[in-house]
């Protein structure tokens, strides 16, 4: 095991906010740290102290550590060092940075999931500001965006990110790997207050069940009681056919997404802008999700430069019944949000319903009527949600009851 060299992290001309660590364990000579850093003058001493603390935490007393730092934040430095240590030392011990208290906040089953922004799981520079773009959810991805040999270090980085990046209220999501690897991924995210797990290429109820069981086991071990929700992603013909069963397979499922790149590959067809080739799959997913009482979520739109095409795509997606969409670039988020947000006529109608309901309560009536039309309770709930959403999106003032003229007459 000793006299072995390992490397973690990334370096290169375009890499920012990351560091590469090369660790060589020795039999003698104490700890030698060679630091090359873009922020040497301002943080050189603190980086060296931090690394000494972590090495000592893992009981390493003789080693040469070479660091090539491009302005990595402390949580990145500790993730990279832990990752390089774990390539050489067999240990389950974890060096956990302090957790921000806002990162412990639970999510809600029925919160809006219009936009969820994918962030590659081993690229710190893209994580740090991810929460600023008002996406409903941030997905830290350990699946397709991380090379197989980088999965181990990405898990540690994502774990630290869940503890020390403020996502400013976005739902904290992680897309795990398929199969056994995905179950291992859960050990790095469940104890750290992840809100939602995306299950890629989901094809069976069993997959969901095994993930649910693993989550419950980890919650028990770590004495956690907050909800951790699931969002299976249907990305194959088999998955489409199983979608209703999958949607109903666990109480933790709050939404089901469709992934069109893999699906079209599986179908052996080209993905077109019009989307004729996936019409069946998409309507099937929407129907299955609605039948199961969860949110149907559309695939990502891959042309990040064409905002107009994205806007059209969002509108047709919404028309089919989808309630959200994936984003692969922060600039897509506002377009997706605006598209799925209630339109002015929807808001106006909802206001009328909510006001009619309020009036009925004041009058002590059990039945709500708008004009001559009776209104069912779910309609009131839905109208109230649209009003709340409009307020949250800044489309209505908080105190609209005082500022909106009474239109019930």
């Amino acid at each position: 095991m000793y006299n072995n060299i390992a490397i973690s992290g990334n370096s290169g001309p375009k890499v920012r906010s990351d560091c590469q660590m090369e660790l060589e364990l020795k039999d003698e000579g104490g700890i030698v740290i060679e630091l090359k850093s873009k922020v040497q003058v301002l943080y050189g001493e603190s980086i060296i102290n931090q690394c000494r603390e972590i090495l000592s935490f893992f009981g390493i007393t003789n080693a040469v550590l070479k660091i090539n730092d491009t302005g990595a934040l402390p949580f990145v430095i500790s993730a990279r060092l832990e990752a390089v240590i774990k390539q050489l030392v067999d240990t389950d011990t974890e060096f956990l940075p302090e957790i921000y208290k806002e990162n412990k906040l639970p999510s809600k089953r029925d919160r809006f999931r219009f936009s969820r922004l994918y962030i590659p799981g081993n690229t710190p520079s893209m994580m740090i500001n991810a929460g600023l773009h008002s996406a409903d959810g941030i997905i830290l991805d350990i699946e397709d965006s991380v090379a197989p040999e980088k999965k181990d270090e990405a898990r540690i980085l994502i774990r630290n990110a869940l503890r020390q990046i403020n996502f400013y209220g976005a739902e904290r999501m992680v897309r795990i790997n398929q199969g056994e690897r995905g179950l291992k991924d859960l050990e790095f995210v469940v104890p750290h207050y992840v809100n939602l797990i995306l299950i890629p290429k989901c094809e069976s109820v069993e997959e969901v069940k095994s993930i649910e069981a693993k989550i419950n086991e980890l919650k028990h071990i770590h004495r956690l009681d907050g909800d951790i929700f699931l969002m299976p992603i249907i990305e194959s013909a088999a998955g489409v056919e199983m979608s209703y069963d999958i949607a109903r397979s666990s109480d933790l499922i709050v939404a089901m997404a469709i992934g069109l790149e893999d699906l079209t590959a599986d179908l052996g067809v080209a993905r077109t802008k019009g989307g004729m080739e996936t019409q069946y799959a998409r309507t099937r997913i929407v129907n299955a999700a609605k039948a199961a009482g969860i949110q149907p979520i559309d695939s990502v739109f891959s042309d990040v430069s064409d905002m107009e095409a994205l806007r059209m795509n969002v509108l047709s997606s919404k028309a089919l019944g989808f309630e959200g969409m994936g984003c692969i670039h922060p600039r897509q988020v506002p377009v997706v949000r605006q598209g799925f947000a209630p339109q002015p006529e929807e808001i106006e109608k909802s206001l009328k319903i909510v006001m009619a309901y309020d009036q009925a309560r004041i009058n002590g009536l059990g039945v709500v009527a708008l004009g001559t039309k009776m209104i069912d309770q779910p309609v009131v709930v839905r109208a109230q949600r649209i009003v709340d959403l409009a307020i949250r999106l800044g489309l209505l003032p908080d105190d609209w009851k005082n500022s909106v003229p009474n239109k019930t007459e």
Partner: protein, 518 residues
């Protein structure tokens, strides 16, 4: 022998003497009142110049010799050819061959293409640079390797120093994309067009000797004559004065960074919701990627409201030209054109007008164009808890930027600094700026991706956006958030030796830069 120092009105320890000449410590904004008269260059006589007006001499070397170049002289240049300038380095190469020593180079700015002058700083041809420096040149100076002390001035401060006789230019070598044999010169036309020559005007009027260097000799008269032949001693024609693709700035690309775009959007939103943006507004925005994005967002708002900006002050770019051509801006008053579209616009649009910094920025004059501007978008490397700004050094203490027009622009009605809260790991909002370039009393709003801080002095602005839904924070809250994310930075270790003096717009010393301890 130690030079005596004092604590100036901004609380900075500054010397009473720089390069052997007495200097005045900063006394506060608008406090120092100059006395005396403007500097007067020697009087010339037409009898010493050819009647046919032909002042062409065969080479730059001969022109320099005829100007009487000798040890200790001050040579000025302008930076309108930006990173494509081929002539400045050539001057010192010639001087070095002639064995001239201890020159002072007084450029209106330097660029990476000027790095070769390090050689002439090392061999004693140049004693010091009084002007901006960045990259390797900044590093050279920061590490205390320059013989004299650098003096950094704003564009307006440079004009003030020339006018007041604080800097006496012995020879001004002014490159011009077009010139006639009499010396009338323009920034348009030819293969090296740069648009305007605003920064060269004061040099042409106040320098003892003036050499115009062009690669496009035109028949008399060369119009518009931004440099007038009456001030010019010699005209030199060369093959190339510049590298065209480097003259047009590479900076005029809208940022693609989603984080910077977010800051730009927040800035436009702040300007709209605060009511600063209105019909008839006057504005200036730079050529950095974020500023350009702000210009685009502001243009959209103006268009949707049917408003028109009264005028924009350039640095002009394609984005300002778009506003002019599409009817959302009345005029562009232009001191420098940053991109090809701006260069073309100056020559074809009568409402796009060359406008000298001579008229716009000089604090020792009868009014300051920048104080009439409603919107002023500026950058900074650091801002501190008192809203003081730094633009010349990075947080590690190295000189990396010139002041440019930054200090002059601080006099605008609303000075807005859109900045990231940290760059890589380096916080932009700090306890105290490394180098003080602009007093906080003139900086109104800091807009970061994580919140907006309004200077507490601007209670009016605060009142106007209080209920706007914008993410308002105190500057302390922003600083704390930066430190929570990045950790508290250490301070760079500095030597006592002063490597550069920072002048305020009135010629007083606002701060100094000390040598980096290696």
């Amino acid at each position: 022998m130690a030079i005596p120092t004092v604590i100036n009105a901004a609380g900075r320890e500054v010397p009473l003497e720089i390069n052997g000449k007495p200097v005045i410590p900063f006394m506060g904004v608008g406090k120092y009142k100059p006395g005396g008269n403007k500097y007067g260059p020697p009087i010339s006589s037409c009898s010493d110049f050819p009647d046919d007006g032909n002042k062409v001499v065969p080479t730059l070397e001969e022109a320099l010799l005829r100007c009487g170049i000798r040890d200790g002289m001050t040579i000025s240049t302008h930076h309108h050819l930006r990173d494509g300038d081929l002539i400045s380095n050539r001057i010192f190469e010639l001087a070095s061959v002639m064995g001239v020593k201890d020159l002072v180079w007084f450029p209106s700015a330097s660029f990476p293409c000027n790095d070769p002058v390090i050689k002439y700083l090392e061999d004693g041809t140049i004693n010091r640079i009084e002007g901006s420096m960045n990259g390797p040149l900044g590093k050279f100076v920061s590490e205390g390797k320059m013989k004299g002390t650098a003096v950094l001035r704003s564009h307006g401060g440079r004009v003030q120093a020339i006018q007041d006789g604080e800097v006496k230019i012995d020879i001004a070598v002014l490159v011009a994309p077009s010139a006639d044999s009499y010396g009338n010169a323009s920034g348009t036309g030819g293969k090296s067009a740069c648009g305007v020559l605003g920064y060269a005007k004061a040099d042409s009027i106040y320098a003892d000797k003036v050499i115009v260097v062009t690669d496009n000799l035109v028949d008399l008269p060369c119009l518009p004559a931004e440099i007038e032949g009456n001030y010019v001693d010699y005209v030199v024609v060369v093959d190339r004065i510049g590298v065209p693709e480097k003259i047009v700035s590479g900076t005029t690309q809208i940022t693609k960074s989603p984080d910077r775009l977010l800051i730009a959007e927040m800035t436009a939103s702040f300007l709209e919701k605060s009511g600063i943006l209105r019909d008839g507004v006057t504005m200036q925005a730079g050529a950095g990627g974020t500023s350009l994005a702000i210009a685009v967002f502001l243009h959209e708002i103006l268009k949707s409201k049917g408003w028109k900006a009264k005028f924009g002050f350039g640095g002009s770019t394609l984005y300002m030209v778009d506003m002019l051509e599409q009817g959302q801006m009345g005029y562009i008053l232009d001191a420098q054109a940053f991109d090809l579209d701006a260069v073309l616009s100056v020559s074809r649009n009568p409402n796009h007008i060359p406008y000298s910094v001579f008229n716009a920025y000089n604090y020792h004059s009868k009014g300051n164009l920048t104080s009439m501007m409603d919107i002023m978008i500026l950058g900074a490397t650091e801002v501190d808890l008192n809203f003081n700004g730094n633009v010349v050094t990075h947080s590690d203490g190295y000189l990396l930027h010139g002041i440019g027009g930054w200090q002059n622009c601080l006099h605008a009605r609303n000075v807005i600094l859109p900045l990231p809260l940290f760059r890589d790991r380096i916080p932009v909002i700090v306890d105290e700026v490394t180098t003080l370039c602009g007093p906080g009393e003139l900086i109104d709003v800091i807009i970061t991706e994580r919140g907006i801080a309004i200077n507490p002095k601007r209670t009016d602005l605060h009142e106007r956006v209080r209920n706007s839904g914008l993410p308002l924070r105190t500057i302390k809250e922003l600083k704390d958030e930066a430190e929570r994310i990045c950790g508290k930075p250490e301070k760079p270790v500095k030597d006592d030796k002063i490597v550069a003096a920072i002048k305020w717009v009135d010629g007083t010393i606002i701060d100094v830069v000390r040598k980096i301890k290696l």
